[in-house]
Amino acid sequence: MTLHKSLASAIALAVLIPGAALAHHGWSSYDAEKTLTVTGPLIDVAWRNPHGEAKIKHAGKTWDVILAPVARMEARGLTEAMITNGKPVKLEGYPRKDGVAEMRIERVTVDGKTVELR
């Protein structure tokens, strides 16, 4: 199998397999020209490394929300207790360029406090 094909199948696998949380990282996969602002309750929050994750409902879809590494979030003043499941938040971030319902978060506003994640 060529490297090209294996990379293509890796992407296909990551999209097809539920819970495969590897198909991101880096800012280059996201469209910084299209800022998304989503307000609502967070679902399935995972306070974890290499970066925090959650889901949120937006425009009829459930979006994967890509947060920052745990140490960075805490350094910026965002704690695990602030973004529990069901907590209403405002997220500003960028959608993936390839159309997958996933956004990388630039800033979070929760309890009236705005935290920059980049």
Binding site: L3, S6, L7, S9, A10, I11, L13, A14, I17, G19, A20, A21, L22, A23, H24, H25, G26, S29, A46, W47, R48, N49, P50, P69, V70, A71, E74
Partner: protein, 157 residues
């Protein structure tokens, strides 16, 4: 194998690798340090064995660079295990990760075969390097660089 990965991800090691503030970033640093030592040691030795830097004596380079490469591997493996444990169930089905592991096995087999086939010829390498040994050395360097590249690629695929 996938059940094993799920178990590892749920194990205390996996929980710690994800949950601790420092475990993942520090494991990342150690993994990178090990990679630098591996490529810096084995990679330079491979270049010499393949035919570059002909003024440098092969036996002396072998003696000093091989242990550095092995030390690099000793750092890479446990640090890699921590990184793997954090996301084992996703990684084990990742094609890029599977290729990486396959190429690691191939690179290690190549290194083992190198010892068996060429170790005794090293003394004469400076005057008469065997073609097979030079090709295997170039293959070794290529394999380790591919392994490193695939490792980095996992996060973007």
């Amino acid at each position: 194998m996938e059940a094993l990965a799920v178990a590892l991800e749920a194990s205390p090691l996996g929980v710690w690798a994800r949950g601790s503030n420092l475990a993942y970033p520090v494991a990342n640093l150690i993994h990178l340090l090990g990679l630098v030592m591996l490529i810096g040691g084995i990679g330079v030795l491979d270049l010499r064995l393949a035919g570059a830097f002909r003024r440098l004596p092969v036996e002396a380079l072998w003696r000093y660079l091989l242990p550095m490469g092995v030390a690099g591997l000793v750092l890479l493996v446990p640090a890699g295990l921590v990184l793997f444990a954090a996301d084992a169930s996703s990684l084990v089905v990742s094609t890029v990760f599977r290729w990486k592991v396959a190429l690691i096995v191939l690179a290690l087999a190549n290194a083992g075969a190198y010892h068996l086939l060429w170790r005794k010829r090293l003394g004469r390498w400076d005057v008469d390097p065997p073609l097979g040994g030079r090709i295997m050395a170039a293959g070794s360097l290529s394999l380790w660089l591919l392994v490193a590249g695939l490792g980095r690629w996992i996060a973007y695929a």
